[in-house]
């Protein structure tokens, strides 16, 4: 037995008659039922209040009101046409004698602002009370801060974020991105090499890139590891270059690893030239 899509009870037009009733205040309520484009039944309630306004006007004005419409309006019924005439949102014209002209307040906007006020919006760039995307110093401070923020406090959460690699940072926004700050330096190539890079020497022969990155990644996000290998034997030549994203991370790594033992050899770490 096939189950019909519509409930048979609904098909009986019990409640589907359009109704009109007027209550004490003169408000006419019209209820009608329609099927909208999704095939769902829609109840439309329309409350109208009709007010008759008597206005005394000039005879000429009254005569003009009776003119038949012409041009593009030719043949149209009297009364405004929603295609050309609409009523806008309510605006308050607040007149004030003080110098500051009070702007008209959009209720919804204010409500949203009030709601957010409790939540303490903090801009990540300048710590002002606006959204980061709306920060007026987005361009100037935005880049610098990407480098400065983790360095601002050594124990900040930001470095962890870098290490876990949760956010991708475009090359020109990473630490040492001097292209925007220092005027027009040329090419990305140079920018990449501007990255804080350490040279690690006195590595043992069987060290791999993985070992090196394991060792250094606790200090910060590494953008590149280059391990010098012998061409024929593929054994490590004893030195490697580690490029960090943040200069501060590189600095800390340098201090920590330089002079440290690793696989029976004392490592030497210096800034790469």
């Amino acid at each position: 037995m096939a189950v019909s899509a519509t409930n048979w009870a609904d098909e009986v037009d019990g409640e589907d008659q359009p109704q009109t009733f007027t209550d004490a205040n003169g408000i006419t309520t019209t209820i009608e039922y329609r099927t909208n484009e999704d095939g769902k039944k829609v109840k439309v309630t329309r409350r109208t209040q009709k007010k008759l306004i008597h206005d005394v006007v000039n005879k000429a004005v009254a005569a003009r009101k009776k003119w038949p419409k012409f041009g593009k309006e030719k043949g149209n019924r009297p009364g405004p046409d929603p295609a050309t005439t609409n009523v806008g949102d309510n605006i308050k014209l607040k007149l004030s004698s003080t110098g500051d002209v009070v702007q008209d307040v959009d209720e919804k906007h204010e409500a949203m602002k009030a709601q957010l006020q409790n939540k303490k919006i903090l801009c990540r760039i300048c710590k002002g009370d606006h959204f980061t995307t709306k920060c007026p110093y987005k361009d100037s401070l935005g880049m610098e801060d990407a480098a400065a923020a983790p360095a601002a406090a050594a124990e900040e959460a930001a470095p962890e974020e870098q290490q876990s690699g949760s956010k991708y940072i475009a090359p020109h926004m990473r630490a040492g991105a001097s292209g925007t700050k220092g005027g027009d330096r040329d090419s990305i190539r140079e920018k990449r090499d501007e990255q804080p890079t350490l040279r690690v020497t006195n590595l043992s022969e069987d060290v791999t890139e993985a070992d090196v990155s394991e060792l250094f990644k606790r200090f910060g996000h590494i953008s590149r590891v280059f391990l010098a290998r012998d061409r024929e034997t593929n054994a490590c030549k004893g030195f490697a270059f580690v490029s960090f994203t943040m200069r501060e991370d590189a600095q800390r790594a340098l201090e920590a690893i330089d002079g440290r033992g690793y696989d029976n050899l004392i490592l030497r770490v210096e800034w790469a030239r």
Binding site: G71, P80, D81
Partner: protein
């Protein structure tokens, strides 16, 4: 107050004008359309079809029988207000930038702009019996005014003078019978965008791109009042009754419009106290710079036309009329 939005134009508005009783509002735009609206409810009465270029200017006579419009298609047309019929089309060498009926409705002032070697002209036509008879194609007066381009023009009281605002910010008084420039006064730094007379034409207000509007006395061209804003102004109007206000509006194109509400823009009409030269209020709503402002002759409503193609008609609330400026 709830503004009534009139959407009869697809391109930016160039001018709007009320008729003498204020029941009709005429709007013209760069989209070649001339619209007539009933101002109390925004119902459109009809359109005047015939222009094939941007319509720059419009004016209606005091009996609301004749309408004149000037356009970039090098014509000015005279229309019968009641049925949209074009009664006369005057042809020129260049675009018509300003038109105005004289106070007695007998004459029409037309200003054409200089272009491609053709000089600017200032022409006056007689339209005394325009409704019943064919109007002459020959102007009563035809002058080539010298000097910078005239951007706005109006009749003075009793047709004694024509007031012309120029591209270099100066205002000139021109004798309508001889075409000679009787006096000039440089009042603005940048081009004049609008010039509207007071109801008795003894003084007028000018709006300029130099972010200020000024009130000048007609006969002497002396600056009586000055209103300085922070945005280039495209239009200014004087409230004829109830409150001693002037309304100015303008706006810069390249302003970044942050949307506070999708239904309302941020370009504003500013209300200034006429005598005390203080700003008293603003009405925002346009999505683009305001190009033209007109105030209903009874002072109970006003309309603004913007670059966004909308005309917004505002009927003031009761508290508007009870406001008193506290010094």
């Amino acid at each position: 107050m709830r503004p009534i939005l009139l959407q009869g134009h697809e391109r930016s508005l160039t001018q709007i004008k009320y008729n003498r009783e204020g029941d009709l509002l005429f709007s013209v735009s760069k989209d070649h359309v001339v619209n007539a609206w009933f101002s109390h409810n925004g119902e459109r009465l009809g359109t005047y079809e015939g222009h094939i270029g941007a319509v720059w200017t419009v004016d209606v006579n005091s009996s609301s029988t004749l309408l004149v419009s000037g356009s970039a298609d090098n014509t000015a047309k005279l229309w019968d207000v009641s049925n949209g019929k074009c009664l006369k089309s005057w042809e020129f060498n260049t675009a018509v930038r300003c038109v105005q009926f004289s106070e007695d409705d007998k004459l029409v002032l037309l200003v054409t702009e200089p272009r491609m070697g053709f000089p600017a002209t200032l022409q006056i036509f007689n339209v005394e019996n325009g409704v019943t008879e064919t109007v002459s194609s020959e102007p009563v007066y035809n002058f080539n005014p010298e000097g910078p381009k005239i951007t706005a023009a109006a009749w003075g009281a009793l047709n004694r003078y024509i007031i012309a605002g120029r591209e270099n910010g100066s205002v000139a008084l021109i004798d309508p019978k001889t075409g000679e420039c009787v006096s000039t006064n440089k009042v603005h730094e940048l081009t004049l965008t609008d010039l509207q007379m007071s109801s008795d034409r003894t003084y007028f207000i000018t709006a300029s791109k130099d972010k200020s509007a000024k009130i000048l006395e007609t006969e002497s061209l002396e600056v009586l009042k000055s209103y300085t804003t922070d945005t280039p102004l495209n239009s200014a109007a004087i409230m004829p009754k109830h409150q001693e206000f002037v309304v100015v509006g303008g706006g810069q194109e390249a302003m970044d419009v942050t949307t506070t509400s999708s239904r309302q823009g941020k370009f504003e009409c500013r209300f200034w106290h006429k005598i005390l030269e203080e700003e008293v209020g603003r009405v925002r709503g346009h999505f683009g710079p305001i190009n033209t402002i007109a105030i209903h002759p009874d002072g109970r409503s006003f309309a603004s036309g913007g670059e966004d193609g909308y005309v917004r008609v505002h009927h003031f609330d009761d508290d508007f009329f009870t406001f008193k400026f506290q010094i």
